[in-house]
């Protein structure tokens, strides 16, 4: 446990974590200190002056909470009239040159300035002179659109590009109330994390071209999940909404804090993978190239399995631990060779030393844990002589060239169990749609051996069956996640002492040695 200190807030004794600044330490126990420029990932800057608090008997008596560490016995005033007045005064000054047009601002509903006005100001404007006019709708690159007028000059975005991505595209130019965030001419944002500035911006000054003006923030349901764009497993919020007479649709992914995985950030590519959850989905079952009923498709699969002389099963490195376990069980029960071949998911050299990984699959580490062979040789051996290939979610077209895929399919009939409409599903004799991860729950092991859990986020009007349910229907024994987890716990030594039903928010670190040990 972290060391604690006792201090007084508004005369009340409070115990908080030592070593932190007042904002973070108090925030952790539910006491808010308003702030705009401070962000835990970017450090204290101290420019907004919104977090000024009183320290009784302190020198100086007024300090920025972001730059002040908690200390034993410290007497902090948050509710003193002079502090409340400062908060009102700062809010007034923040707002004099800020457009008061929240109803047409994209940030409305998730704007700190708006929230703080309601909580700390609430006064009518006394501005009777012309406000400072600034530019609007500036293209900063990387699909970031800047509205200078809404900017509070907190410099979070500037600090992000200097401290985190170390690309430094943004700066605050000029001085006094001519100060503005800008890019150097001809040098727009050019980094793979640029859209984080949209999340970091406490107001509506940084917007995402992809998201802006598509949805009001307050209509969005924010469901926690895990990004499946690569093996990092960044924690995200899936922001989605079911508009009247429409389906539940995802509008954006946003990073969700996990200090052990991604901190506060995610990459832009991962962020945009939400589109794959909405679009190019396999919705209707297909049999021999025509749309078919679900029962008919399942029946066709069962017939194919019983008629096959040799069956190969292919599994995706994006499948959850529970799914892979169920598929492994299913493959064994029909004596099929199992492969996790997915070289095409790896983009060698694409990763960086921050979040982006070469491996664009979410759960390859589970292959190691469950002894799934993902080598090309293993796949070749599995497919050799097979007249049936059952492909669970694996986009084989990413790993095999067109002619290679064609030669595989020349001998083997293809059955695709898939959430996405891919080249494979188009070529399959039977295609069975399943729920994608945003509509399902499961466990993943990331590139660092961290076991994480995601839950169902989106509920479609026409819900698709989960992959495990379909596996069960075509002959697998495991009926659902609970059974899979029980099976995993019994079968995998590393998971024995882990309650797979209760994975903590930060995930569980499975040490590399444990994973390697099991594999060996």
């Amino acid at each position: 446990m972290a060391e604690k200190v006792k201090l007084f807030v508004n005369g009340q004794e409070v115990e908080v974590e030592a070593g932190k600044n007042l904002i973070d330490a108090f925030g952790a126990v539910g006491i808010e200190i308003p702030h705009l420029c401070y962000h835990p990932a970017l450090g204290a800057d101290g420019n907004c002056r919104m977090c000024l608090v009183g320290i009784e008997d302190g020198r100086p008596p007024l300090v920025p909470a972001c730059k002040t560490k908690v200390a034993e016995g410290m007497k902090v005033q948050l509710d003193a009239e002079k502090i409340k007045k400062i908060q009102r005064d700062i809010m007034e000054l923040e707002l004099i040159n800020h457009p008061i047009d929240c109803p047409i601002c994209d940030q409305a509903g998730e704007c700190k300035l708006q929230d703080y006005y309601m909580r700390y100001d609430g006064k009518p404007s006394r501005m009777t002179v012309k406000p400072v006019l600034k530019a609007k709708k500036m293209d900063f690159g990387c699909d970031v659109v800047h509205d200078q007028e809404r900017c509070v000059l907190c410099a979070r975005c500037v600090r992000f590009t200097r401290l985190v991505t170390k690309t430094g595209e943004l700066g605050i130019v000029n001085r006094t109330d001519y100060a503005r965030v800008n890019i150097f001419p001809g040098r727009p944002l050019n980094n793979r994390y640029a859209l984080n500035v949209v999340d970091l911006c406490p107001v509506g000054a940084m917007t995402s071209r992809d998201f802006r003006f598509k949805q009001r923030a307050w209509f969005l349901t924010k469901s926690p999940s895990i990004c499946q764009g690569c093996s990092k497993g960044c924690n995200i919020f899936i922001d989605h909404n079911r508009e009247k007479y429409k389906d539940d649709v995802i509008y954006r992914f946003r990073p969700r804090l996990n200090e052990k995985v991604n901190g506060y950030f995610m990459c832009d590519e991962g962020r945009m993978t939400y589109k794959q959850e909405n679009d190019n989905r396999l919705i209707a079952p297909q049999v021999n190239g025509r749309e078919a009923g679900f029962a008919e498709a399942i029946e066709a699969v069962r017939r194919a399995i019983s008629g096959a002389t040799k069956t190969a099963v292919l599994v995706s490195p994006n499948a959850s631990l529970e799914q892979i376990f169920s598929i492994r069980q299913f493959a064994a029960s029909i004596n099929a060779a199992l492969s996790g071949y997915s070289d095409g998911y790896i983009k060698a050299g694409d990763g960086d030393d921050f979040l982006i990984q070469d491996d664009k699959s979410a759960n390859r580490a589970a292959f190691t844990l469950l002894n799934i062979d993902d080598s090309k040789a293993g796949f070749d051996a599995a497919i050799n002589g097979a007249d049936l290939l059952i492909n669970f979610q694996n986009d084989l077209g990413r790993s095999l060239a067109e002619d290679q895929l064609a030669s595989v399919l020349a001998n083997a009939k293809l059955i695709a169990i898939s959430s996405a409409a891919t080249g494979c599903t188009a070529k399959s004799a039977v295609a069975v749609p399943v729920a994608s991860y945003s509509e399902d729950s499961g466990s993943l092991i990331n590139c660092d051996g961290r076991l994480q859990r995601y839950e169902i986020a989106v509920a479609k009007n026409q819900p698709l069956k989960s992959l495990i349910e379909v596996t069960n229907l075509i002959g697998g024994e495991i009926a659902n996640n609970q059974e899979a987890r029980a099976g995993l716990q019994a079968a995998v030594a590393v998971l024995k002492d882990i309650d797979l039903e209760q994975i903590p928010a930060e995930g569980i670190a499975l040490t590399e040695s444990e994973v390697a040990h099991v594999a060996a």
Binding site: D89, L93, T128, V129, L153, I172, R175, T176
Partner: protein, 423 residues
Amino acid sequence: MQVQVLSARFDIPDANKIDVAKQHGAYSTLEKVFAMQPEEIIEVVKASGLRGRGGAGFPTGLKWSFLPKNIDKPVYLAVNSDESEPATFKDRYILVRDPHMLIEGIIICCYAIKSHAAYIYIRGEYTTQVKVLQAAIDEAYAAGYLGESVAGHDYKLDVTVHRGAGAYVCGEETALLESIEGRKGQPRSKPPFPAVEGLYGCPTIINNVQSIGSLPFILTNGPDAYKAYGTEKSPGTHLFGISGLVKKPGMYELPLGLPLLEVIEKVAGGVRDGRTLKGVIPGGSSTPVLTPEEAQTVTLDYESMAAHKTMFGSGGIVVLDNTVDMVKLVENLIYFYHHESCGQCTPCREGLGWMLKIVRKIIRGEGTTADIDLLTELCDNIEMKTVCVLSAACTMSTRSYLNKFRHEFEAYVAGGAPTQAAM
């Protein structure tokens, strides 16, 4: 009333040249200095009672003693030659007329604080002055007073001139450091104080030109000789700049503690014929204005100024006579501080522009009593809510005019002053 302590060589032709300066005593105290321990020098400076001449008046020797002991990092000296506070023009005389006094002072200071690198931060506007200063530094290098072995001693010292480029705020010591480090002159939050974490994260002393320039006299003649001038708590002499509506404006070296009105009258010749005194800005534009009544009892020292709720500041005295429109003067001052706000802190960045627009509205004849009250309230709302005191420089001075000359603002509101097109 005038004395020649710092200005002893000011009137000697070509005293900016090292040969002339040396003939008149420049660098002569260095032998004595190098025979002393650095700590002894700090004690002498403490004993002299020298207070920082940049405006804040903090005791110089005490400032030096805040340097951490047993430091494993380099120590830097930054000489503040930004001299940008309106009505302040004293350091310029040292830079141009006796730069070797400054260089000698830098050597003394650096030796005392165990620094081997000094940066002179000179405001960019001092275009001709920087050439004189740089020439003097080049001479000092050539003569062996700077460089690998200062005056033949086993002590290395480099002095580098760093030019500002038009930013008043860089006179604030941490903004000055930011500017040397290549950034915008945006003040740093304190703590940490520069003596602990200053230039390049290292312990740094920042002193005004005149403070440093006072060192050769103090070390040559001893602390008592310096304390023979001035008052007990404000010892020594000061280069006062007297400007504005006065017969003989100029730079005058005076001991501290003289009566303000007497100095204006006897040294600067008093107000012009047929005019009467309306107010005095005692120490640079940021210091609260004094009415003639208040000025009666003020003496030119830190304590008397504080007792009159104003500040000694930079010693830049501005005389205002009965022709001055105080509202327009305030507009001129707020314009300045708004122009110079670094743009970092919300209250200063947004607030000073608002104040400027309100005072202009009043001047246009469109103001109301509520605007005067709002202006007054904004002074309170902005002041001391920021990282540095630039905004306070604006609000403290503005408030003094609002309080002491409110009737002039009210006259504008009542339509008593001619309305003008938007300024």
